[in-house]
Amino acid sequence: MSIIIRLAGITKVYQVGDESVHALDGINLSVEKNEYVAIMGPSGSGKSTLMNIVGCLDTPTSGLYELNGTNVSEMNDNQLAKVRNKEIGFVFQTFNLLARSDILHNVELPLIYGGISSSERKHMAREAIARVGLSDRIHHKPNELSGGQRQRVAIARALVTKPSILLADEPTGNLDSKTGNDIMALFDTLHKEGNTIVLVTHEEDIAEHAHREIRLRDGKVERDEPVKNRRIVQASSNVGVA
């Protein structure tokens, strides 16, 4: 299997007043294609910082980050923007949709920045929206949708560029447990279809959807092991399967 993400000796140091805070302190890890990884840890453990670096929103203070064999740890802003556009699909806790645009336009947006032609763009966006089951809401605005539907739109937007990895930061954090389960079922399906998924969560039962669990503490990898009790969920059900 090919390696998608390779982190070697990643550190991130923030300067707070006179003090240096080591948010990440020598992270080494690799993620292979079609892995399903959960990153866990208490607040302040550095999981958000790691997520930002893996998502190319931020660059490490030191260390090497290879995404699909390309060194992205020393790229400039515009190069990173391109990588984010082509290689990474983000799903945020707060959905982060553009309130004034309809669903189609929201999903289309990464393709606009990616320079895809209008007709192809529309086609791809509709496909992605169909994939998350919202074809009948294509011209609705985000505020006309429920939380779960909004998160589906966000997932469609993340999928639409066919990225190398899906990065989800607490994707169920703003949803009730039933809706959250539906979203996780969607992630499970996407994984089965061959997507590589990295999700950040602090909820144990969300993490159990993944195949591999990485625990961070104080900016270091504390534990990195396969998930023993994998949770397989059907949409709108809550049945754990060993």
Partner: protein, 409 residues
């Protein structure tokens, strides 16, 4: 190419969404630009109108005519020097007329103010112009009734005259003036013709409140202390004016017996000198006027910049989202530049729509003109104001750190 267009379209979409979402704010901000554009456009219009009025009013002087006189137009600081110059005499005119080869016509003129009477009607303060038979050829005016006096009448000093249109209309409201006898300063003259309406010179002196009569007669009846005359020389064309000027200058120096070391003791005046003087004064007025009205546009631009900073701050999160899904800096920069430009352009267009009817109202008092170039310049300026005042906020937006921007609430 295609990408740039899509990006532009997306930027326009965002700009209009943002303007629609903050209607009141957009209207108030745009108002600053509207006021700026209205005042600048009206000022430009007035200046243009002034120029046109000036050009129209000096047309009677003729672009291809030289006026040889004691005093230079536009004055000069050496009043006494001009005052002490020798007068220009009829004899010199005769000699010049004989010698000047490049001139198409040479004619003397002299003026005085007199009362003109016909029966019980009289007009005070009519300008009596003593001149030659070919005066009209030089001034470019036409006769509307009858004829001008002939060469024979002119040389012979016959008591004949041609009336300016205003004089004719006032003395002969209901009858044909040709063949009637009028009294000019107490002396009888037969009317042979009426000169067509010419308007006024520089909006001051009416060219129609005049009576034209032979200059030899003028000297006999209207005192010779007005000894100094003006010699009007018409060149064959405007292009040959400089050649004619040089020739006339040489002949005049010779006639007046100047040695090569002496400077000219006469002035060769031409329309160009008035144009230059006007352009100097007009240029200063225009610069000051446009600067002052430009200030209001500047204030409008500051308003745009201010509101764009607010807009960027408000939409920090949106900027973060766009960056997260791959918008490069350039795209964000363009998005906000477009928004500022659209605001300013709207202001510019509304401003012109307001300024145009206003210019028509002002036109009743002062001749104004709003040429297409003014409209285009106003639109370009408003666009530039948008780009300049939008740049700093847009630049700041484009440099936002995506992580911070996403975290912003």
């Amino acid at each position: 190419m295609n990408y740039a267009f899509d990006e532009f379209k997306e930027g326009m979409l965002i700009a209009f969404q943002a303007i629609r979402a903050n209607k009141m704010r957009s209207v108030l901000t745009t108002l600053g630009i509207v006021i700026g554009i209205v005042s600048v456009t009206l000022m430009g219009t007035a200046i243009e109108g002034l120029n046109r009025a000036f050009n129209k009013s000096i047309a009677a002087i003729g672009a291809d005519v030289l006026y040889i006189q004691k005093w230079p137009w536009g004055g000069g600081d050496d009043w006494w020097k001009f005052r002490n110059r020798r007068d220009i005499r009829m004899q010199q005119e005769k000699t010049l007329e004989r010698l000047a080869e490049t001139a198409s016509a040479v004619s003397p003129t002299i003026g005085a103010s007199r009362t003109v009477k016909y029966g019980q009607k009289y007009i005070e303060g009519v300008i009596v112009v003593g001149t030659g038979y070919n005066f009209l050829e030089i001034s470019g005016a036409n006769i509307s009734f009858g004829r001008f006096f002939t060469r024979t009448e002119g040389d012979g000093g016959r008591p004949v005259c041609a009336l300016g249109s205003e004089v004719a209309a006032n003395l002969f409201p209901n009858e044909n003036p040709i063949g009637k006898t009028v009294k000019v300063g107490g002396y009888a003259y037969d009317v042979v013709g009426v000169v067509e309406k010419q308007g006024s010179l520089l909006g001051l002196e009416s060219l129609d409140n005049r009576v034209y009569l032979p200059i030899t007669r003028f000297f006999q009846e209207f005192s010779s202390r007005w000894g100094g005359i003006s010699i009007n020389v018409k060149a064959r064309s405007v292009d040959q004016l400089e050649d004619t000027k040089e020739e006339v200058r040489g002949i005049m120096r010779k006639i007046r017996g100047l040695s090569p070391r002496q400077e000219d003791d006469f002035a060769i005046n031409q329309q160009e000198m008035l144009v230059q003087t006007f352009n100097q004064i007009g240029g200063v007025i225009a610069a000051v006027g446009l600067f002052i009205t430009g200030l209001s546009l500047f204030v409008g631009g500051i308003g745009i910049m201010n509101i764009m900073f607010v807009s960027v701050t408000e939409r920090t999160k949106e900027i973060g989202i766009r960056k997260a899904i791959g918008a490069p800096r350039r795209t964000i920069l363009m998005q906000f530049l477009l928004e500022a430009s659209v605001l300013c352009l709207l202001g510019g267009i509304i401003g012109i729509l307001i300024a145009f009817p206003l210019s028509l109202i002002i036109d009743q008092v002062l001749p104004t003109a709003m040429p297409v170039s003014t409209v285009l310049i106003a639109i370009v300026i408003s666009l530039l104001v948008g780009l300049v005042s939008g740049f700093l906020p847009a630049y700041r937006a484009s440099r936002l750190d995506p992580v911070d921007a996403l975290r912003y609430e």
